[in-house]
């Protein structure tokens, strides 16, 4: 029984990080109807930034969060101008292909530079032990940071001028333009924030598990499931979706062979799409 409880708690902790990883994906979708397929690469960029900064400069892994956040924002703005700007308002396939192309380039270059060797960042943080089960310190801290960042995003979107403008653009871009909102700049900022969130989630995941240049694909895939559970274009819902996915993984594993976990996850993905086409926690389209 304690084992099941431990799995559930563990699932929730990791689920919060999954949620953060999906938040950037769903934010960009919510604002401009673009599925950013560089998301996995940006998560890996966060992991690599953590590895290089923590190992090269010898600083605490958690002190890499601000530079990853800021760096991620500027990378996102650059990504917008390179791969997304001309695709906004066009059929979704166009932006899908352009971001996929950028993803292939990024992964290709990174593989050429670093190969697909393993990277690991040692984090010495005491965990919490209940009976025979231990919840590692980095998992607890990463979950707390993910929840904090999700809260800050909510505050940003609902209580700041820029955040409100982003929501306005998401609601009705033409109307936002009519009232003088610089929509293009707002779209660039949205991608900047989305990529910054991907980078930070990568950085936090890097404190939990070893990773390779190719690790982003798995998290991007989970990001899609979380997005469906949490509601398309609803970044805060993504956090709930992440928790739901983590809970599911934690609940399923003790009872069925572990190889079934992925099958069950995707079965749920299809079921939710059928029952709730906009996602379980879907807000009104474009309301963010």
């Amino acid at each position: 029984m304690l084992g099941i409880l431990a799995s559930i708690i563990d699932g929730v902790l990791v689920g919060l990080v999954y949620g953060l990883a999906a938040m950037g994906l769903t934010l960009i979708w919510g604002v401009m109807d673009v599925i950013n397929l560089t998301h996995g690469a940006m998560i890996v960029a966060g992991m690599m930034a953590l590895y290089l900064l923590a190992n090269a400069l010898g600083i605490s892994p958690y002190l890499t969060l601000p530079p990853v956040l800021i760096g991620g924002f500027f990378v996102g703005v650059a990504l917008y101008w390179v791969a997304i700007h001309r695709m906004v308002g066009r059929p979704p396939l166009m932006s899908l292909l352009s971001t996929f192309a950028v993803n292939l380039i990024l992964i290709g270059v990174a593989t050429a530079v670093w190969g697909t060797a393993l990277f690991n960042v040692d984090v010495a943080l005491p965990g919490v032990t209940i009976g025979r089960y231990t919840f590692p310190g980095p998992h607890i801290l990463a979950a707390a940071l993910a929840a904090l960042i999700a809260g800050l995003l909510y505050v940003f979107l609902h209580y700041t001028r820029t955040g409100k403008a982003m929501r306005a653009v998401a609601n009705n871009r033409e109307a936002a333009e009519l009232v003088g909102i610089p929509t293009t700049r707002l779209l660039a900022i949205s991608v900047g924030v989305g990529v910054a969130l991907a980078g930070v989630s990568g950085m936090l995941i890097g404190t939990l598990f070893p990773f390779t240049i190719l690790s982003g694909d798995g998290y991007q895939l989970k990001g899609f499931i979380v997005t469906v559970l949490g509601g398309f274009g609803n970044p805060v819902g993504a956090l709930l979706g992440g928790v739901a996915l983590g809970l599911l993984e934690g609940l399923v594993t003790p009872f069925v062979p572990v190889s079934w976990t992925l099958v069950i996850e995707f079965a749920l993905f299809v079921l939710v799409l059928i029952a709730f086409p906009g996602g379980i926690f879907a807000s009104r389209r474009g309301a963010l």
């Binding site: 593989t111 060797a117 598990f209 594993t253």
Partner: protein, 407 residues
């Protein structure tokens, strides 16, 4: 008369050139293979490819392969298979038909070697395999496929024997990747463990794309196991080791496939300590080779050339070339049937160990003489490093058992 002689001379020269051209082409042997320059198998495949290249450069520096009064320089043609099984058949067909490869080396991993072997057999081309340990392709009646490494079913034999010696009542959790190689290894390991009187309390596979092993580690703890065997390839094995350490799984024994055989595994720091890995070759084990370099010579020359320590993938890749070279020299020809016959009668010891192929139709080409060792991550001169701990006759350090409480 003089003009006629010049004309004749020109004709002779032209004829000589025409006849000389094929003779020149025959003086080069083209060997084809695919490697995983990209994709998840990149790390292990790189080691194997370096082994191939190292052998080729050494052979060519010594004037090539000598057979039938000729010297054959070795030329490679290779393509990136992107770690994708679906690409290898197309690429091996191209290697044979367009690049005219006379001999083939395997890709890395069982999942890629098995489909490649279908093509090599179809065209009757010899393929020397150091990348795929799965036995199934050798049970299909293939005639031209030869494996220089120990096959999957023997991977965990040493670990089970060593564990039995330390704890005859060990309770083992077997958790492994859902791929042909890992399943082959662990199916045999389970049978061997049970035959040895050890208890297997958990036997499950996970999807190769699994990123978080937290719930799985909790399940291992709940199973009351005190020993762990499993893993698969690279990142999954490393993540398992790290999460078992972080979640204090308290295993007294941990054996993980493949990942700990790479030096980068040491980056896990304390999570790597005590982990054992079945290894096809380690630099500490010394055989008396009948030909080719000694272990020390190979390890040093490899280090000098690539500025990296040779791992077992590099050593087995080099052995592919060395065994093919030996067979061609024994056959005195590059004719496929004659070289196949020479490979069938190969029974030699190299720095990589004893090499002999099974010849009965049900297992043709399978390795029967090579033996694996068990290596364990320990502190070597204050730094993490692998020591050979089993068999005891070949050990370079004592086996640490039980592991510290956190593992």
């Amino acid at each position: 008369m003089k003009r006629l002689s010049t004309k004749r001379l020109c004709l002779f020269a032209a004829a000589a050139t025409l006849f000389a051209a094929p003779a020149f082409a025959e003086d080069t042997i083209t060997i084809g293979f695919t490697d995983s320059q990209t994709g998840p198998l990149n790390v292990d495949s790189l080691g194997q490819s370096r082994g191939y290249e190292f052998w080729r450069d050494e052979v060519n520096a010594k004037g090539g392969i000598k057979a039938g009064g000729k010297s054959y320089m070795v030329k490679f043609v290779s393509y990136d298979d992107q770690s994708v099984g679906g690409r290898v058949q197309q690429l091996y067909t191209r290697l044979i038909n367009q690049d005219h490869a006379q001999f083939l080396f395997s890709s890395y991993s069982s999942g890629l070697t098995a489909p490649a072997a279908v093509i090599s057999e179809q065209y009757g081309k010899i393929m020397i395999d150091s990348g795929g340990a799965e036995e199934k392709p050798f049970e299909l009646g293939n005639k031209y496929l030869f494996m220089v490494i120990t096959s999957a079913t023997h991977y965990m034999s040493g670990a089970i024997a060593a564990l039995k010696e330390k704890n005859p009542h060990a309770k083992i959790a077997m958790v492994y990747s859902d791929d042909p190689f890992s399943k082959d290894v662990m199916k045999a390991a389970k049978e061997q463990a049970e035959a040895a009187g050890l208890q297997v309390v958990m036997d499950e596979s996970y999807a190769p794309s699994t990123t978080d092993f937290g719930p799985i580690v909790n399940k291992i703890i709940s199973s009351n196991a005190d020993a762990f065997m499993g893993g698969g390839h690279y990142s999954d094995g490393a993540t398992l080791a790290r999460q078992m350490y972080d979640q204090k799984a308290n295993m007294k024994w941990v054996s993980i496939l493949v990942a700990p055989a790479d030096d980068k595994f040491g980056e896990l720091g304390p999570a790597a300590m005590g982990v054992t890995v079945p290894s096809q070759w380690e630099a500490q084990v010394s055989y008396k080779p009948q030909f080719g370099p000694t272990t020390a010579e190979f390890a040093k020359a490899f280090q000098d050339k690539f500025n990296a320590r040779a791992d077992y993938h590099a050593a087995s890749g080099y052995t592919d070339g060395m065994i093919l070279q030996h067979a061609i020299e024994q056959a005195g020809s590059i004719d496929q049937e004659k070289v196949t016959a020479a490979l069938n009668s190969t029974d030699v010891t190299t720095f990589f160990g004893h090499i002999k192929f099974m010849t009965d139709p049900g297992h043709h080409g399978l390795q029967e003489a090579h033996e694996m060792v068990l290596a364990q991550w320990q502190k070597v001169n204050g730094k993490p490093g692998r020591q050979v701990v089993w068999p005891t006759a070949a050990k370079s350090a004592d086996l640490i058992y039980p592991l510290s409480a956190s593992q």
